[in-house]
């Protein structure tokens, strides 16, 4: 009996030690919250960033931000852009951070009209960035942009001797039957962007008719980008069966083998929808000064230059250079489809409902 008790006690002690280690290790960073804390010379407390789960910032950039401004960056990433915006709306009376990044033009109006943001005009926002301004209210500051486009597997079309499609209308032609995979706009951000491209291209009266044609033409609907691109697309390493997929204009460079000079895939530049990602100061932030400092930092050259590599998007600042592979393999569409964010916000749910009725039935 004594031995049994001793072994039980040992297990309990081990568990306690382990949990104590973990709590000690993890509690430290968050215990420095608040702008008032002055831990060491030059330190000015913590800025809490609330962002989406595709956000990436290197340790070097976090260190540079701290060196330049004295603030320590702390991150929260509750989910995709929909989760991000909805959580900000639900917590607007007691915000979970100081600054937000990642709200795009498809969700911007919901954030603004719910009063989630405080106005701020960054002095770092140059004229090239200002072209992407949401409106004149200065609630949101543009940081980067990217295009959702149909991607094409060049090898598939050249092997079959079929010319590649060019426009959205081409995708509904019998020559391209059973070749396209798209994402569901109700569950996927690129899926939503592509649906908006079709609304923009064919108008409020015509877009549902277009989707009926796509359905007749054997379009494959997937829940998200991952299974569309890695399972169904023939141009990815998943080697699927469909040579056309809705992805990003920036996807092709990643399919170029190391040292390759030609890209096996490309983006159809006449099928693109422009997504702009914004940053903003959260209304009721504990550390508004730190929030502003981080927005300024995001517009600075070092952060802007890191955007293509880390997040697969183009910088809004024209003073930084995009990687060479991008210039070659990921050209920017000259006239992508776009739409007034207020119009998107007003119609999004209704359009998704109509899309579901048309395509899923």
């Amino acid at each position: 009996m004594a031995r049994r008790l001793a072994s039980l006690a040992a297990v309990a002690a081990l568990a306690l030690t382990l949990s104590a280690c973990t709590s000690g290790g993890q509690a430290k960073p968050s215990s420095t919250g608040g702008a008032s804390g002055s831990i060491s010379a030059g330190a000015r407390g913590t800025v809490v960033l609330v962002t989406h789960d595709s956000f990436v910032i290197s340790d070097a950039l976090i260190a540079e931000f701290k060196l330049k401004t004295g603030y320590t960056l702390e991150q929260r990433a509750p989910g995709d852009v929909g989760v991000l915006v909805n959580q900000l709306v639900l917590t607007k009376d007691a915000p979970i951070g100081d600054v937000t990044f990642g709200i795009d033009n498809t969700f911007a109006s919901r954030a603004v009209s719910n009063g989630v943001l405080a106005a701020y005009r960054s002095p770092a926002e140059g004229t090239s960035a200002a072209k992407f301004d949401l409106d004149s209210s200065n609630n949101l500051t543009p940081i980067d942009y990217g295009d959702v486009c149909v991607n094409v597997d060049h090898g598939w079309f050249s092997a079959k001797g079929i010319p590649e499609p060019v426009t959205l209308a081409d995708l509904a032609k019998p020559a391209y039957k059973d070749l396209l995979a798209v994402e569901n706009p109700a569950t996927s951000s690129p899926g939503l962007a592509f649906m908006l491209a079709t609304v923009s291209a064919f108008g409020a009266d015509g877009w549902q008719g277009y989707w009926s044609q796509l359905k007749t033409n054997g379009v494959k609907i997937d829940a998200g980008w991952t299974d569309a691109y890695t399972v169904d697309f023939s141009g990815s390493s998943g080697k699927g069966s469909r040579p056309l997929v809705v992805s990003y204009a920036s996807s092709p460079p990643d399919e170029v083998p190391a040292g390759g000079t030609t890209a096996p895939t490309g983006a159809l530049l006449d099928t693109c929808f422009r997504q702009v990602e914004y940053a903003g100061v959260l209304a009721g932030a504990k550390n508004p000064a730190g929030a502003k400092a981080f927005i300024d930092f995001m517009l600075g050259d070092s952060f802007q230059a890191a955007l293509p590599g880390a997040m697969y998007v183009y910088p809004v600042s024209s003073s930084v250079k995009v990687p060479d592979t991008w210039a070659t393999f990921a050209p920017i569409p000259s006239s992508p489809f776009s739409m007034d964010p207020a119009q998107i916000d007003k119609n999004r749910d209704g359009w998704i409902q109509k899309w579901t009725d048309t395509v899923i039935g």
């Binding site: 009996m1 949990s19 929260r76 709306v89 007691a94 569950t187 299974d227 990815s236 399919e255 880390a310």
Partner: protein, 553 residues
Amino acid sequence: MTARRWVGWGLVAAVPLAFLGLFFVLPTGTLIARGFSTGGSLDLSGFGEVFSRPRTWRIVGLTFLQATLGTVFAVGLGIPGAYVLYRRRFRGQWLARALVTVPFVLPTVVVGVAFRSLLAEGGPLGALHLDGTLAAIVAALVFFNYSVVVRTVGGFWAHLDPRAEQAARVLGAPPWRAFLSVTLPALVPAITAAASIVFLFCATAFGIVLILGGIRFGTIETEIWIQTTQFLNLRAASVLSVVQLVVVGAVLGVSGAARRRRERALHLTAVDAARERLGRADWAPAVVTGLVGAVLIALPMLSLVLRSLQTSHGWSLQNYANLATTGGRGVLTGTVWAALGNSVRTAFVATAIAVVVGALVALVVSRRPHSRSGRRAIETLDAVFMLPLGVSAVTVGFGFLIALHRPLGLDIDLRTWWGLVPVAQAVVAVPLVVRSLLPVLRAIDPRLRQAAAMLGASPWRVFQAVDLPMVRRALGLAIGFAFAVSLGEFGATSFLVRPDRPTLPIVIYRLIGRPGAENLGMALAASVVLAALTAAVMMLAERWRPASAMGEL
């Protein structure tokens, strides 16, 4: 029972109740209540709105259909599996036991991609045309939940006294007859425990239904997710959450009734040394289990391992070498190994919480008070701790955000507390701990306790001398389960985890969401690592259990 003892048991129950109240009932309740209030007053018009849509009825029906089929197949295939893996013995059994548990923790997005790669047009099984069908979803649900049945039923079966069945055989009953009339009735409590857990897991399956079924096979869970995270329609989401709670309540009610009809004190043997070798007479369960193991469990896992060894330059370990990096072009903030460290640390804390809370619940629920109100209180307590399995992770995750800023009027902000991640994982693991311990605790003959008490033992001494030796055998199972739940949990973790301290499933999800062969290869390699870690933990839990049990005899 004396008043003093009542107070004692009340105190034992108070700890888990406070835990569940703060970290489950409060957040979920606050979010659902928000959906039913318009400008501060109660507004139930959402019910009429949601139920007037034909789609609602369709997804409720589909939820039942999927969960029922998933449960029927998991239980039907799992009982022979429990027999072969826990009632008989054979070479390499320990490995087989560990391997069947692996699917339980694999990230749904990886399993979804693996299944679809097999089933999609042009895939190896593309000719079967199963892509996007109900059959594919059910197969994946069985893949995930098979081990829940095998382990819950097997853990109980291993300790069932074989003499009753042997007596039936001696009296001339054929094996199937002896099984049906003697063994099966004794197993009913464990089977209903497993079935209710599997049903709740199936009914709240999310990622796998989305990926394999598209929007056509939407369930209550996927609908809550879309309404909450995309449309911010809390009215609809709250109505659906209530529907979910009603479903859960009904399932628990039915399984509780089935169990009570059968539950009684059984003869449990002290050790599972009485197991016979797997022999020729066992061909039927052995064939079924072999087929399930080969086709449903091993095939998808093998294809995962093979794909993780493929790179654009042929076969190599490059994907595994890359786990020490931050991904193609640095899409991660830390290496995959660092994420593994985060996962293991979190799992230790989550397991410790889940085992303590779950053991207390099981202990209280296993009592048999004489008064009707006492029994009713215990039945309610039993059901309440199962609820987290049947409620959407989205509801819990969003609920944390709005309820844990100054909870109960205290001036603390728990929303950004590091401990919330292991706590959320423990909330999901507690029901599994309870269900692993309870069948054993309940099967202990109460006369043993009464005898001990009669001889002057204090309640604590009774627990030590009677309950503890029996429970310790089931404890290994419970610890293994809790650890596995924590390692594999994605839903609630994704809302709460800090992006600079991600767990392994979060990192896998990130990698597989990026273009490029390198990132996909790393995601698959990381999944294999997660699978191997789980198998190793399960083996340790299995081995630790009999050794300590034997040591006390």
